[in-house]
Every structure is written in structure tokens, then in C-alpha cells.
Subunit: 152 residues, 2 copies
DNA sequence: CCAAACTTGTTTCATTTGTAACCATTGAAA
DNA sequence: TTTCAATGGTTACAAATGAAACAAGTTTGG
């Protein structure tokens, strides 16, 4: 059977890692305007606020796991939110390396203010898609997450 | 009709901007190991190599447009590839602000070496998906790209 | 023709990031 | 116990990034 060599060309515009990164970067950049303009938050700070608002109390390690952040990012984001008095640390009774983090009233207030904005952003984006497209997005992302999980 | 308030909670793990970013970051990080380990390239340098390998000759501005990079990233990536003697600059005859960039033999060789690795990576990832899932991925990404375009 | 506005690409500076080293504490093994 | 590895979290340093200022060249409109 005769087979042809693939041309040694990669089309960057349709290369999945590139497309994904570009898309995520654009979406994230657009969304970040909301928490940046509103409160001058960085992305790690936003994720920290969001994680604690959702779960109530977490340790730094748990925060990192939930929001896929390196521990130095968590550390710095927590320090900044603490400086703003948006969160407090409570030492663990049994393990003195651990601190339990929780939002203060001011932190909760900021979180409550952000949630509808975040949801509105997501809805605005998804509203421009058909029902099938929305399903494709969610299904595709989920499938890729799993595939990547397997790979490494 | 009675309606309930939505709970003021955002589930980060299913929030689309977060999921997308996380996925793209993981994919990109995994893929970057290839060009990082192989040649010590950064992402902007890889994209520059890839763009020039694909198109042959481009200006810095065109490179930035094709690969969605800020012009300072392009500038620095080009400088580095030039330092490695992987590309050369040719001044434009008519507009002396412009330089036409092209890969040298060594640059082309590196590109040719990278292309199969990049394709293999993409295939390995997609091979873990069903045909429907692959269609969902491509369709979903395309739809989101368009939706985002509309939004801004 | 000339000044003002704009474009291409580089550089400077401040901020963000990741890696590695680090400190303090805990757990496990000898 | 004492020691040694592992863990939670911070810090120091170097590299990557983005914004803004910049130089050099080009275009436009009087």
C-alpha cells in the first residue's frame, strides 16, 4: 500500500493546545476585568475569595487543591486578602503548622457582590451559544479533562 | 409564581472560565515539556518558530497576529531565536521600519524536528476521546471563540 | 513642504510568576 | 528518646510578563 509522508507543517491556528490556551486566555482576561476593576483583585486573589466563599473554611493546601494554584500563589493571595481584612487565620489546635482560613464579614460582602457578576458573565457568554453548542462545550471540556488526567 | 433566590454561591469547579483556564494551562504545561526539554524554548519562542516554519516569512506584527502574542513577547522571542541563529531579519525595501523574518537552516531543522512531536502530542490526547467527544471539543471551542468575539 | 498623527519594533520598569531553599512542626523508624 | 523523612506554609531569587515610554520611519492634511 502506498502511503504519503505528512507534510512537515503544523497549522498553529488549528493546533488544539494553542487554540485552547488562546481561548482560555481571552475568556479569563475578559472576566478578570470584572474583579480587577471592581476590587483590584488578581486572579489568585479572586480564586481564594471564591474558594473560601464557597466552602466557608479551608487550609492553604486545600485552597491550592481546589483552585489549582501553586502554594506560593495561595500564600501570597492569602497574605493580601488578610492585609485587606477580608480573611482571618485560625491556628489548628492539633497541628500547629496548619491554619484555617475564613472570610471576614467584609470578605463575605465582597464575595456576595462578585457572585452575581461572575454568573452573569458566564451566562452572557453561554447565551450566545445554541443548546447543542453548550452541550458540546461542557462535554468537550469534561472529556479533555479526563483524557489529560489519563495521560499524565 | 413563586421564585426562589439563587443561593449566592459560585461553584468554582464548574465555572466555565475557571475550567477552561485550568484545562488549557494543564494541556499547555504538558505540551511545553516537549519544547522546553528538547530545546529550552519558551512558549513565545516556540510559537515564533512554529509560525515562521508554517508561513515561511513574516514580519513581527504578522507573527503577533497569527499567534496571539503581545508585541513585546514577539520582540523578545525573535531576539532570542536570532541569537541562536535560528532566524534572520531582512529589512523591507519600501518601509524601513519593517523586517521580514525567516528561519535559517538550523531553524528549519528544529522546526521539522518539533512538528511530529507536536502532532503526536495532540493525537495522543485526542486518541483518548471518542469520535463524538472529539467533535464536541472542536465544535465547542469554535463556538466559544465566536461567542467571545461577539462579546467584546 | 511641514507638522502632527500614526505605525513598527525595542527598551525600561514594575509586577507576577515559578523554582528552590527555607523554617517550623509532625510522624515514623530505629 | 533521638533522628530522619515528610508536610504546611513562607521567603528569596531569577525569569517571564505587560504597560508605557521610546526611537525611527511613514502617512496625512493643511
Amino acid at each position: 500500500m502506498v502511503r504519503f509522508m505528512e507534510p512537515p507543517i503544523l497549522e498553529l491556528e488549528s493546533f488544539l493546545p494553542y487554540r485552547l490556551y488562546r481561548l482560555a486566555d481571552a475568556v479569563s482576561r475578559e472576566f478578570s476585568r470584572i474583579y480587577k476593576e471592581r476590587h483590584g483583585l488578581t486572579r489568585p486573589e479572586w480564586r481564594t475569595l471564591s474558594g473560601l466563599g464557597q466552602r466557608g473554611t479551608m487550609t492553604a493546601t486545600e485552597l491550592g487543591e481546589q483552585s489549582a494554584m501553586h502554594k506560593t500563589k495561595v500564600s501570597r493571595a492569602v497574605a493580601e486578602l488578610e492585609r485587606r481584612r477580608w480573611l482571618t487565620r485560625t491556628p489548628d489546635e492539633k497541628d500547629r503548622r496548619v491554619e484555617h482560613l475564613a472570610l471576614t464579614k467584609a470578605g463575605v460582602a465582597a464575595y456576595r457582590e462578585m457572585v452575581p457578576l461572575a454568573k452573569a458573565f458566564e451566562e452572557e457568554l453561554l447565551a450566545r451559544l445554541s443548546e447543542e453548542e453548550r452541550e458540546a462545550v461542557v462535554g468537550g471540556v469534561t472529556a479533555l479533562e479526563e483524557a489529560l488526567e489519563e495521560m499524565s
